[in-house]
Amino acid sequence: MERFKLPGYRLGVINTKKFKTSTVVLRLVAPLSKDTVTVRKLLSSLLIEGTSKHQGLQELVRYAEELYGLNVSISTGYTGCDHYISIYSTAINDDYLPTKENIIEKQICLINDLLNDAYLKLDSFNENKIRIAKTNLINQIKSQYDDKIVYSMNKMYEYMGKDTPLEISPTGYIEDIESITRDDLLTCLETIIKKDQKFVFACGDYHNDIKEVFERDLVFPENNKKYPAVYPFLPTRDEVQDVVEFQQVNQAKLNLGFSSKVSIYDPRIHSMILFNFILGGYSQSLLFQEVREKHSLCYYVGSSYDSFNCVLTIYAGVDHGNLEKARDLIFEQIERMKNGDFPDEHIDLAKNYYRSQYLKGNDEPRSLINRTFNRSLANLDIDEKEYLSKILAVTKADLADVAKTVRLDTVFTLKGGDENG
């Protein structure tokens, strides 16, 4: 990948003939805060309403359709204690089209215009669109309740991370939506243009002058802001927080949150990544093999580790009658990791598999870009070969070492029925 430092942003270009497309992504980064998350989310849904040249979603989409379905989407999310707005765009490379469209330049200009020349800024902006965007956002937040797997995971973060960035929902808060005015949205947009830390990634088959094209067509004010994304979640309670909620569900959803101290900067991070992998990261993991395959207690069970906030999560969907048994088995697997109580072949198996999974990511523009973004945000320049060789060097003792840093903080269980059973 080639890296460039342009006045308003950092640009990473992955020049490859592998894909039939050009993928260009702009990430706008600011600190994750309860005060701004809602307005940023609402604004992101209004940015897709177009530019002064294509006023309104309908016009914008028409323009994109003419360009063989040039795809633009805007989403929000978080990494550690940073919030980001992501403008993601895919265009078919001119070589595959019946007519020459100079599509890559149009793609870059469009991303520029969505911010710098946003339709929202014009006096002619249809204010009705703000009302619709508000209703849609309220619905989106409400409907998070309906996906019980996601809901129970979010609740676990909310209880575990009270008064820390971990509790903040990147989708925003219903109670903050109504009072947002058009002026608030415009102020937020100005702040984003001036102050957000910006990353641009491009992946496709480009000519040599691609840097100049970006320099000319995608322009932001000079800005050297950096918002550190990594923070270790610090536990505040001595006893495990055990929360149970009752709803009409056929299957109980069990979520466990653990704190650790091994961040992306920690030299033990490679051990931690492999620890999570062996514990619950794939089909041969201890959790999958013991809880699902051996005891037939569930269909899904797994774990994930976030190296930006140092939180390990374990999740499973189990029958109400088997909750205790599932919990015990989960704790048993963590103990096994601490004591090295599993065959050595498990480690080789996991290493081999992890390496292969990692390399597969190089065949997908989206995973290539996400990986690069996370590293750029953490300000890490990681050599792929070196990274993989460190993963492959992890020993059983290293795994036990990081397993011991893991501490259960919160358990959130969504159950059917009511408190009386």
Binding site: T16, K17, K18, F19, K20, T21, G56, L57, Q58, E59, V61, R62, A64, E65, E66, Y68, G69, L70, T90, I92, Y96, N128, I132, T135, N136, N139, K142, S143, Y145, D146, D147, K148, I149, Q248, V249, N250, Q251, Y282, S283, Q284, R292, S296, L297, C298, Y299, Y300, G317, V318, D319, L349, N352, Y353, S356, Q357, L359, K360, N362, D363, E364, P365
Partner: protein, 426 residues
């Protein structure tokens, strides 16, 4: 081995049918690290009444058996899990069952030959014990219950089930907890012997491969195995009346946002694969022209607050069924329901101008090319179209030929008498 170059996609596809009947397709992707293999049996949840291989009479098997068999295929002799063998090769493996087919797949960045052989070997041998069959029931029961808690899933499949009186489309692919519990080892063996014969299967390998070597490897693997003589599988034709099963149904769930789908049964299903593909493309283009984010109607419904971004429209067509679905989350259920019903009632007034048609056609062509960007969509598209009698590499050229008249002609299938409403209610 025959080969064909597809100009629009700039891809060359190789094919050979082996002596045992197996159809093999190979595609080399320059510059890719990954290789992906998919092995598909023409056997899905809808195949529940058939004459077993070597027998004379029809039998009816328990619902969910194709999916159950998919779970059990991974247990190879010696009790080793095929997933584990793949993991040892540094590869990942998976499988899925649809109404009409079961697919097994792997993806890898190394040891491609071993992965291909393993795919052929584990799917071409079944080693069940009564005990292992019983054990799987608990896992599948949890899978069914997980989906039972998912309102989008219940709405989607509920709205299809409402349309069918006898056709197995009215039953979940995984079956029910009760039907799964009735499944026996003998029943699984019978299905396996009938449907997992090479002449009822297709293998597609795409990625970082050498074409000649890979084909030679597959040929050698197949030549050393014995299979029953080739024989056509007789499936019982479903006696499905034209009318629908349920006109209106409410499913009560613990949700914040209610959901509604309108579904319509289409009884006229073309038997010619290309005609069927043209219908499919025409339907999708119709919905795109009428309900794309660039359309007037979509935007007016959005402005009135009738719909939000969850709104979707689908046309689904397979061997012997076809149906339409429209709907999504609803704030004001009554008005939403009325609007959808009126849309169907006044379908003849829906028009599409030439400019809109051409623009959306361009977009759909672009999206199809996009799907050929990465390995998985190529393989899954190929497998999906294959048993419909269509070569996925030709779809984009058929898309170019579709006319506005063909698109407008699909309006006649919006038949009010064959329409069902399904609601996920608080």
């Amino acid at each position: 081995m025959d080969k064909k170059y597809y100009h629009t996609l700039k891809e060359t596809l190789f094919h050979e049918q082996l002596d045992n009947g197996l159809n093999v397709y190979l595609l080399k992707k320059e510059g890719f690290i990954k290789t992906y293999g998919i092995f598909t049996a023409n056997f899905g949840s809808n195949d529940n009444e058939f004459i077993p291989r070597g027998q004379k009479d029809f039998i009816k098997v328990n619902d969910g058996i194709a999916h159950f068999l998919e779970h059990k295929m991974f247990y190879t002799k010696d009790g080793v899990d095929a997933n584990e063998l793949y993991a040892k090769l540094g590869a990942s493996s998976n499988a899925y069952t649809t109404n009409n087919q079961t697919s097994y797949l792997f993806s890898t960045t190394q040891k491609e030959n071993e992965c291909i052989e393993l795919l052929l070997d584990f799917v071409q041998a079944l080693d069940l014990t009564e005990e292992s069959v019983e054990k799987e029931k608990g896992i599948i029961e949890q899978e069914i219950k997980m989906y039972d808690d998912d309102p989008s899933w219940r709405l989607y499949f509920g709205s299809i089930a409402a349309l069918y009186v006898n056709h197995p489309n009215n039953t979940d692919i995984a079956g029910t907890v009760e039907s799964v519990n009735r499944i026996t080892k003998a029943e699984l063996d019978l299905c396996y012997e009938t449907f997992y014969h090479p002449d009822n299967m297709m293998l597609f390998i795409v990625g970082n491969i050498d074409i000649e070597d890979t084909m030679a490897l597959i040929r050698a693997n197949q030549n050393q195995k014995q299979f029953a003589p080739r024989q056509e599988i007789v499936r019982k034709k479903v006696d499905e009346p034209d009318h629908i099963a349920v006109k209106y149904q409410e499913i009560k769930m613990d949700v914040n946002v209610e959901k509604l789908f309108l579904s319509i049964k289409v009884n006229d299903v073309p038997s010619d694969p290309i005609e069927s593909l043209r219908r499919d493309i025409a339907f999708n283009l119709f919905f795109d022209c009428v309900f794309a984010k660039s359309s007037d109607l979509y935007n007016s419904w959005l402005e009135k607050g009738l719909i939000n971004s969850s709104f979707e429209t689908n046309f689904t067509q397979s061997r012997d069924t076809a149906f339409i679905q429209m709907g999504g989350d609803c704030e004001d259920r009554k008005t939403f329901e009325k609007t959808l019903i009126e849309f169907v009632a006044n379908i003849d007034r829906v028009t599409i101008d030439e400019a809109t048609f051409l623009r959306l056609k361009k977009r759909d062509i672009g999206n199809f090319i996009l799907a050929f960007n990465s390995i998985e969509p190529i393989a899954s598209n190929f497998s999906r179209y294959y048993y419909e009698g269509v070569n996925a590499f030709e779809v984009v050229d058929v898309m170019q030929e579709i006319t506005l008249d063909e698109v407008l002609a699909v309006r006649k299938y919006f038949n009010e008498k064959l329409m069902a409403i399904t609601i996920i209610k608080k």
